[in-house]
Symmetry: C2
Subunit: 310 residues, 2 copies
Amino acid sequence: MAAIYNRVALIGLGLIASSMAHAMRAEGLAAEIVGYARSAETRATVRELGFCDRVTDTAAEAVAGADLVVLAVPVGAMGALAEEIAPHLAPGAMVTDVGSVKQAVIAAVVPHIPAGVHFIAGHPLAGTEHSGPRSGFATLFRNRWWLLTPAEDADPVALARLRALCEGMGANVDVMDAPHHDLVLAVTSHTPHLIAYTMVGVADDLRRVTDSEVIRYSAAGFRDFTRIAASDPTMWRDVFLTNKEATLDILGRFTEELFALQRAIRLGDGDHLHKYFTRTRAIRRGIIEAGQDTSAPDFGRSGTTAAPGA
Amino acid sequence: MAAIYNRVALIGLGLIASSMAHAMRAEGLAAEIVGYARSAETRATVRELGFCDRVTDTAAEAVAGADLVVLAVPVGAMGALAEEIAPHLAPGAMVTDVGSVKQAVIAAVVPHIPAGVHFIAGHPLAGTEHSGPRSGFATLFRNRWWLLTPAEDADPVALARLRALCEGMGANVDVMDAPHHDLVLAVTSHTPHLIAYTMVGVADDLRRVTDSEVIRYSAAGFRDFTRIAASDPTMWRDVFLTNKEATLDILGRFTEELFALQRAIRLGDGDHLHKYFTRTRAIRRGIIEAGQDTSAPDFGRSGTTAAPGA
Ligand SMILES: NC(=O)c1ccc[n+]([C@@H]2O[C@H](COP(=O)([O-])OP(=O)(O)OC[C@H]3O[C@@H](n4cnc5c(N)ncnc54)[C@H](OP(=O)(O)O)[C@@H]3O)[C@@H](O)[C@H]2O)c1
Ligand SMILES: NC(=O)c1ccc[n+]([C@@H]2O[C@H](COP(=O)([O-])OP(=O)(O)OC[C@H]3O[C@@H](n4cnc5c(N)ncnc54)[C@H](OP(=O)(O)O)[C@@H]3O)[C@@H](O)[C@H]2O)c1
């Protein structure tokens, strides 16, 4: 494919940025990839791994002359980073981010964007529980969604170019407004993560069930929770602090419904439980039909043949 | 391998029983496999699939002359089934079950077991979200735990034979008492399932987030929940009704911890969140080290390369 951007600056060189570098290289989407990370250690690692053409020692150097700048740091760090790079951005450049929350990032970044520079916030719905520059791989975004939340007055040509980059890395792009993004993600990702963290924490606390037993017999629902709950603590702290309202809203509904089910268990109301569980099955079928997962009995996992049991 | 039992009767012919039949056949563990299921439809399907040597039209016929009888129906149906087959059990036969709850099954079944017949309750920690006779496969139990909860006065020779069968199907066997089993499973499986059902129910309820969006953007934590929440409603209703105490106990702790995290979000207490999320990471590492899952960045899933994102 022809390069879509001439020089891409990746600021933050963790899972997402390194996966972008691998994907852009594999598809020839950027003529040059420049990287910067906060710590000398990460910069040294990336120089050794070689997925950037150059690694600079300051964010300012990295963004100089770049026609695309990608902010790929935790959500809470975006504002300070935008302030730092702002004076060094090239006229006409596009700035985007990959943060998991959109309203807070837009509020923190936009005030620093100089006139003549474009900013369009984005969020790839792809990740693993691993982090850091060694965890990236070229196919991370393939067949995953990349949500873009441009302002109403965003430049259509600049948007089309950014969309082409995301699609070039294998993603499907959808455009929506930021508040809606944050609500949808609170439902599909943020609240589920908080719940998984909580359940794993409860298991860890429980002295009557020894640690080794929880681990030994985890092949049953709980295992999926531990995978979710292994994600980066800083990233997730920032997600909850910055998508506070939507998360608290969904959590409120969650506890309401949980109490109703809890009450049904206490009262022995089997009909209530059976109806509820029957309803939730349909959503799963929808996901399989939408091609977001496989219905193979081993859940498409190679290596292990079985999964949730009871 | 030499046959461990001469005639095995499988009562209930769903996921677990059909997987047992496939596994016993593959390893030559039973000289003859006889099956019975409640509905004529399931019996016809099994006759067509051919994984039993014979399918009988009554449970009584199936257990006649069997030296192993496996109760593989929902937990709530075990007692009535035991009562029905009791007069037809061969002297010296072993009766076991595969139910996900143990104290309630033991309480329902034991009173019907005639003198001279052994009963040892069991539970394979293996399953998928699929059910019915077509969903079974020979490797379901491979490298999975099979927990046995014998009474204190259980016959050691009969126990050793049952253990050999489970191991012959590829499982690792552990012996524990029934109350402990029910508590461990409440933590590692039953409560996580209830939580997953609840979260999927909340998403389904939410009219501001359209169904199609929840499904479209589900590649992020939530997807794992929907898989769990697709499990058989009858089986899970029975699990919660019969492992009531332990589930309510763990649920109580869960909501306590969830409220603490919710409060931290509301107050913007990032330290609390970060500490909590750091702690839960360790349990995940333990699971990977215990060989219960893979640390591959695609979670060992073939076909899809990415999973939880934010
Ligand atoms: N992981 C996912 O599942 C996922 C999915 C979609 C979107 N996202 C979003 O993508 C962004 C990056 O996530 P990631 O998974 O790539 O993270 P990661 O692997 O942990 O990498 C984070 C990078 O940000 C840098 N960084 C951390 N704190 C910083 C700070 N206070 N100031 C400046 N730089 C800082 C780190 O620098 P050092 O290496 O020098 O410490 C590292 O290079 C986050 O906003 C996250 O919400 C993540
Ligand atoms: N699935 C799992 O993940 C898993 C894991 C470990 C243990 N278990 C336990 O294994 C047992 C069987 O589960 P499964 O997954 O094999 O279930 P399944 O695929 O749904 O099959 C259940 C079987 O039980 C029969 N049955 C249902 N209700 C009955 C009733 N009231 N009276 C008599 N027979 C009845 C069904 O007969 P028809 O086909 O004629 O309706 C069917 O043959 C349950 O106790 C469950 O707790 C399940």
